[in-house]
């Protein structure tokens, strides 16, 4: 089968391993039916092209980054696990707000998605 890859697969990221997307895009209906209707989101400032019904967690998985956050307790890396809103492993900073469930958030044009490290930092100043 002809696999279409819309996500930029190997974003250069500040890391000593070359990070390659772990997920690939198959042939899509929307592409054939509504050609050109993609949205661009930014994952850790790198542009990623997504389909309009994709979730922010899917954007991380296709971006080439293999984890989305590190834990508050042990600082260990985590990535989306359930994709249905129950595990809370997909917590991301989305448009400036931390700890948003990435798998429950639909991408929007220009959305800024960032990985999180450890506990959230909150400051009113």
């Amino acid at each position: 089968m002809d696999n279409v890859l819309t996500a930029k697969s190997a974003i250069s990221s500040p890391s000593d391993v070359k990070e390659v997307a772990t997920f690939k895009r198959l042939a899509t209906r929307t592409e054939t039916e509504q050609a050109g209707k993609t949205v661009t989101v930014y994952v850790d400032d790198q542009p990623v092209e997504m389909q309009p019904n994709d979730s922010a967690a899917a954007a991380v998985l296709t971006s080439g980054l293999r984890y989305g956050r590190t834990t508050t307790v042990g600082n260990s890396a985590r990535a989306p696990y359930c994709m249905m809103g129950v595990c809370f492993e997909c917590l991301l900073e989305i448009d400036g707000i931390e700890n948003v469930q990435g798998c429950m958030t639909t991408v929007q044009e220009g959305m800024r998605i960032k990985r999180q490290h450890q506990a959230r930092e909150l400051s009113g100043r």
Binding site: T72, I97, N99, A119, R120, E121, L122, S123, G124, R125
Partner: protein
């Protein structure tokens, strides 16, 4: 600790402590240290435990405004707290995160602040001048707590206030009590206490089975359960439930420096937001409205909290006497039976583990316990 071991034969212990919350455990721990052989008879896992739902404040300021003896024992307990925390760390390796660098009480109006200042001044007089506190305006508050919001009129600072992780406190006491040979039995509800010529027989009931314990002394620390148990041994404990709610946030990097009566950040980074005893009177609506009111007050104090995510809520029943003060009393009709009831089991934890346990061991005390006699509610 043995799990409930329903036994038709009568079990024996020198002292039976009825109720295994933080009040019961602290006393049980002190009694064990004094060389007694102690069993704690406790209810099941889903009991509405104030011990698992409380706010973790070791709080002094404003306590006992109408009863100087209460102010005195609260402060005495606060002073004993450091050595209790150290001792628990030594024996169990658990750091219960005691911090006593002072606590703030936020007031949202000038009126509230003035009233509070007056109250604290009166308490200072009653204590013969030995009652430290400071009144801060918003600017001074913000120097200590930069996130305090513009709606805050000011605060009072009590240098003796602090906080602790109440769950670790509970766990550490449990572990130390077990290490020193104490027994905790999940025996279900205590349904009957019979005074005998020598000692007492306690009957517990769980899942259709009775369990009997014979003991020389019995200490009632069953929280709300004391109301029914006390009369069985000639005591009086007219306590009523008072629902206290706590909101708990996601973990955050350090944000708040001091505990307040309503909001504190724990060592883990979570923010706990509660109602204070003073607030509950007017909130009688459904639960969500209560929680919403608590949240609303908290965001006036710290606007930054608007964006914080609440991960859990907790409801626990406070144990309230009509005047809000504790009951410490030995039965005159059935000596050897004691009742202990209070709503600030954390603050008074060090007192319970120390001087209160000693009072029960030795039948004498320097504490002004006459002020806490349950008969004060008779008539």
């Amino acid at each position: 600790m043995q799990s409930s071991n329903p036994n038709t034969a009568t079990n024996t212990a020198e002292v039976a402590v009825i109720g295994g919350g933080i009040v019961g455990l602290a006393i049980a721990l002190g009694l064990t240290r004094n060389g007694h052989q102690v069993v704690v008879l406790d209810e099941s896992d889903i009991a509405l435990r104030a011990s698992q739902g409380n706010f973790g404040l070791v709080w002094v300021q404003g306590k006992g405004d109408t009863l100087p003896e209460y102010a005195a024992i609260s402060r005495q307990s606060a002073r004993l707290w450091r050595s209790l925390a150290d001792q628990l760390l030594d024996s169990t390796g658990i750091d219960i995160q005691l911090q006593q660098k002072g606590g703030l009480f936020f007031c949202l109006t000038e009126q509230e602040l003035n009233n509070r200042q007056q109250m604290l001044q009166q308490m200072q007089q009653a204590a013969g001048g030995d009652y430290p506190f400071q009144v801060l305006d918003l600017k001074q508050v913000q120097e200590l707590e930069p996130e305090a919001g513009p709606e805050v009129a000011g605060a009072t600072l009590g240098p003796e206030d602090g906080h602790v992780n109440p769950l670790l406190f509970y766990r550490a006491m449990t572990e130390q009590f077990l290490q020193s040979g104490g027994r905790i039995v999940h025996s279900g509800k205590t349904t009957d206490i019979k005074p005998l010529n020598q000692g007492f027989t306690v009957t517990c009931h769980d899942k259709g089975l009775d369990q009997k314990w014979h003991c020389d002394k019995v200490v009632l620390t069953a929280g709300l359960g004391n109301k029914e148990l006390a009369p069985m041994v000639g005591l009086h404990a007219p306590v009523e439930p008072n629902l206290g709610q706590v909101l708990i946030s996601e973990r955050l990097k350090p944000l708040l420096n001091y505990p307040t009566g309503h909001v504190r950040q724990t060592n883990e980074g979570t923010i706990q937001i509660g109602d204070s005893k003073e607030d509950v009177g007017f909130i009688t609506d459904t639960r969500i409205e209560v929680l919403a009111q608590i949240a609303n007050r908290a965001r006036k104090m710290y606007p930054v909290l608007n964006k914080v995510r609440l991960v859990r809520t907790w409801g626990a029943l406070r144990v309230m006497t009509p005047d809000g003060y504790p009951i410490y009393q030995e039965s005159t009709r059935h000596p050897g039976a004691y009742v202990v009831t209070c709503h600030s089991g954390v603050t008074l934890g060090a007192l319970h583990q120390g001087p209160i346990a000693d009072w029960i061991s030795h039948n004498k005390t320097e504490l002004p316990l006459e002020a806490f006699n349950g008969q004060r509610f008779n008539g």
